[in-house]
């Protein structure tokens, strides 16, 4: 039996036999994964191996072809998602005409806010102090990404699904992502991040999962010394 049955509380995210096919053409899977609170898992795979599609399925945007996704032990549906998942994709979901602050205020209105933080504090903690009122169009790609990261800080969601969070970021930005991930894990959150191989998560060793496209069963390497609570 697997860890799902051993844990006395259901894991944050449990994925069993998950597969997705577009027009009968398999994109990835079958894919198994158990993600507990306090864990960060890095999904690796080449371009086109289905990492982005995997995150979309896990966020509920796409319905899987087969298999199931359990969020806190309950099957995932878009209607049930309420407040549990934050997705940061290639498209950042920010309006270029509006300022960073306006964008974040909108995100807070839409998704709620964690206690003890404001959009200004969030912007300062991603290193964008002084850029609050600038229209996003005037910011660089990396700075826009930082605004999107500030959104993750603000909106309460236990599970972060980050698609290539290191793209467009400088060395300091990569360090920032790692700090955010660490803090999030320490507060009992979990994160699934994708990367096409350039391995940037340096602090601690997150579990790595390999996504090799359709047809291959994914392997979860034994290098599992994440700081999260071990169910075993």
């Amino acid at each position: 039996m697997n860890a799902i049955d051993l844990a006395d509380h259901p894991p944050l995210l449990a994925v069993r036999g998950l597969a997705y096919a577009r027009n009968d053409e398999p994109i990835f899977g079958p894919f198994d994964l158990v993600l507990d609170a306090g864990e960060v898992v890095l999904v690796e795979g080449d371009n086109g191996s289905g990492k982005t599609t995997l995150l979309k399925v896990l966020s509920g945007l796409l319905a899987p072809t087969s298999g199931e996704v359990l969020l806190n032990g309950a099957p995932l549906t878009l209607a049930r998602l309420a407040q549990q998942v934050a997705l940061l994709g290639h498209l950042l979901g920010l309006k270029l005409e509006l300022s960073a602050l306006q964008n974040l205020r909108f995100a807070v209105g839409l998704g709620g806010i964690r206690p003890g933080i404001t959009p200004q504090i969030a912007l300062a903690s991603v290193g964008l102090e002084g850029f609050e009122e600038q229209p996003l169009r005037l910011l660089s790609a990396g700075q826009k990404k930082r605004v999107a990261l500030a959104r993750l800080l603000l909106v309460p969601a236990a599970l972060w699904l980050l698609d290539e969070p290191y793209a467009n970021l400088d060395r300091e930005g990569i360090g920032l992502v790692n700090r955010l991930l660490e803090t999030h894990a320490r507060r009992g959150g979990a994160a699934l991040i994708t990367s096409h191989g350039a391995y940037a998560y340096t602090s601690g060793t997150p579990r790595r999962v390999n996504l090799r496209g359709a047809g291959t069963v994914t392997d979860v390497p034994a290098a599992n010394d994440a700081s999260g609570p071990d169910p075993a």
Binding site: L78, G93, K95, E97, G112
Partner: protein
């Protein structure tokens, strides 16, 4: 972890879309200018006889408003889809139909309301008899939200396609033509001294139905478009 209320989410959407409309106010004025140009071209082409123009006034204004609405519809969800905002809307914990209803309301406020405001001026340009003007205004107030609501469903269906302009027009026109017929029909009836309440009541009933169903249909269509 405190989830925000749905009311806060609706307010956030209204505030953001109004701010966006203000930033893109050149685009927002496009339908208005278009309708004014269409209406002013008619007297130039047909000649300035008041009797002829008065007979055509209501119909001309309705056609201009409908075409202007078509012009503005395509942009309703386009930018949200392209920058990923739509995904964030779908993933938010609030009912998508409610959020979309707010978006549609802002679209109506920014594109249709200016048209209603200048309608008396257009009516004056075309010698519409003064007693018919209240009927025209009432019909426009009922028809323009219908255009936005029905249009939103069709836009949601086609927004996933790259070049959806032509398809959108084909899809949406047959659905909007009845609104045109009833709206202009009420004005024509009033102009001929006939009772005009029935077409207006029909429009009202239709609007009530669309207010309830169109956001739900838009939400379902958008989820399909996202996959």
């Amino acid at each position: 972890m405190r989830p925000g209320s749905s009311a806060a989410a609706c307010r956030a959407i209204v505030v953001r879309d109004l701010a966006l409309a203000w930033r893109r106010r050149g685009d927002a004025l496009n339908p208005l200018l278009f309708a004014i140009i269409v209406v002013t071209l008619f007297p130039l082409a047909l000649g300035p006889e008041p009797a002829l123009l008065a007979r055509m006034a209501a119909g001309t204004i309705f056609v201009a408003v409908l075409l202007a609405a078509l012009l503005s519809l395509d942009a309703l969800f386009r930018s949200d889809l392209e920058d990923g905002s739509l995904e964030q809307l779908v993933l938010s914990p609030h009912p998508l139909a409610l959020l979309l209803a707010c978006k549609i309301a802002v679209h109506w406020l920014t594109t249709a309301l200016p048209l209603i405001v200048i309608a008396p001026l257009l009516a004056l340009l075309l010698y519409l008899p003064a007693p018919v003007l209240p009927v025209l205004m009432l019909a426009l107030v009922l028809v323009t939200p219908l255009l936005s609501l029905i249009g939103a469903v069709c836009v949601a269906l086609t927004v996933g396609m790259r070049r959806s302009g032509m398809l959108l027009t084909l899809l949406v026109l047959p659905l909007l033509v009845p609104a045109l017929i009833f709206g202009a029909g009420a004005c024509n009836a009033a102009q001929a001294g006939l009772p005009f309440a029935a077409p207006l009541l029909w429009l009202g009933a239709w609007l009530a139905l669309a207010l309830v169903l169109a956001p739900l249909a838009t939400a379902a269509a958008l989820k399909i478009s996202l996959t």
